[in-house]
């Protein structure tokens, strides 16, 4: 269940993922080394060496990668807005 849904809502309907600020990011790769969910992908041969490859693998409300990011280059959506959105989707689906 937790693999494809979160709180009963399909994971791909929930906008929760890290956004990389490429001005701040120094490609130290601490985030991708840390995250066990393979959210990030390293692209060594390219100019942008790190991307968010699998946003739906990101655990909703988890911001652990941003907590270990030295240059503070990772940000997440607003939690409260995300909670409200989940509630709305649940309500819509229960009324459908």
């Amino acid at each position: 269940m937790s693999e494809t849904t979160f709180m009963g809502v399909e994971r791909n309907k929930i906008d929760w993922k890290p956004t990389i600020d490429y001005i701040k990011c120094d490609f130290c790769m601490e985030c991708t080394n840390f995250c066990p969910h393979k959210v990030f992908e390293v692209r060594e041969s390219e100019e942008i060496k790190l991307i968010v490859k699998n946003p739906d693998n990101c655990v909703v409300f988890c911001r652990a990668c941003s907590k270990i990011c030295g240059p503070d280059a990772l940000s997440f959506p607003d939690k409260n807005a995300t909670t409200q959105k989940i509630k709305e989707i649940r309500k819509e689906e229960s009324n459908a």
């Binding site: 907590k67 270990i68 503070d72």
Partner: protein, 285 residues
């Protein structure tokens, strides 16, 4: 700061936050009994600093979230009594620090803010409620995966979120903490950062952090309400979260404002136990 501290600052000489960290450490030692642990010298000659850290509470000043000083403390098996992260403080106080290594107006203002806060923190801790007992004799179910054993209490008044945090409802209050899954994944928890007493928390808002040498975990509150108490014991003994996460390791007590609404997005024992088992299997194969 009433006690004598051993201060372990960041050694980030190539970053402004590191320079601020060093400056705060120096100021805390001016005219006082505090002493600095030099992180570079500590790497090559540890006897002097091990003794110092064993005799006095340790204040760690990390420059940024890479947490080099905290990681060094973990590596040396030092118990951290207090902790500051410069970039976090800058964010919290809306101070923009520059990209070079000079301490200018903003940096000096931030240093003063942090020094003032460090001197006030002990006053704040003294007004925290006396700690009630954390022993409930819950009935536990266990799931073993390899050498790891995951316990989950089977109690109808304990609710979970899918972020591996629990809330034990006691009347119009709830105690909140993390599950065995979190503490096993973090391994040795070295530091607990409590939330502010009196703070208003939304459901799924952050109510404190715990930190190991591996990572930092935000406690994601299953319930909404007002923080009325913290488990002060964890500030000195964060290892209780590893040893007994559901009872002695409770972290925060919240006065509930909308528990019936909150319950819509919470799960009970049966569902959480299944989710946790799947997470363990997915992560560990």
């Amino acid at each position: 700061m009433l006690e004598k501290y051993a201060i372990l600052p960041c050694n980030g000489l190539d970053k402004c936050a590191g320079v601020i960290s060093g400056e705060i450490a120096k100021k805390l030692c001016e005219g006082k009994k505090n002493e600095i642990i030099c992180p570079v010298f500590y790497r090559v000659a540890e006897t002097k600093y091990n003794k110092m850290a064993g005799e006095h509470p340790v204040l760690v000043i990390d420059g940024c979230q890479t947490r080099c000083a905290s990681k060094l403390a973990a590596e040396k098996n030092i118990k951290i009594s207090r902790k500051v992260t410069i970039t976090e403080e800058a964010k919290a106080h809306n101070v923009k620090i520059n990209n070079n290594l000079r301490l200018l107006e903003n940096e000096n203002a931030l240093i003063e803010i942090i020094l003032t806060a460090l001197n006030k923190t002990e006053d704040k801790l003294t007004i925290i409620h006396a700690e009630p007992s954390g022993i409930y004799d819950f009935e536990y179910d266990t799931y073993q995966h390899g050498k790891f054993i995951f316990r989950v209490p089977r109690n109808p008044e304990i609710y979970y979120n899918e972020n591996d945090c629990w809330a034990y409802i006691i009347g119009n209050h709830a105690r909140v903490g993390v599950t065995d899954y979190v503490q096993q994944n973090l391994s040795d928890i070295l530091y607990f950062t409590p939330p502010d007493i009196g703070g208003i928390i939304d459901q799924f808002g952050d109510v404190g952090e715990i930190e190991s040498s591996k990572s930092v975990f935000e406690l994601i509150s299953p319930v909404s309400g007002k923080v009325i108490s913290i488990n002060e014991t964890l500030v000195q003994k964060p290892e209780l979260i590893n040893e007994n996460p559901y009872e002695l390791g409770w972290m925060v007590e919240i006065e509930l404002t909308d528990i019936e609404g909150d319950k819509e997005l919470l799960i009970g024992f049966d569902k959480y136990f299944e989710i946790m088992k799947k997470k363990v299997e997915d992560l560990n194969g």
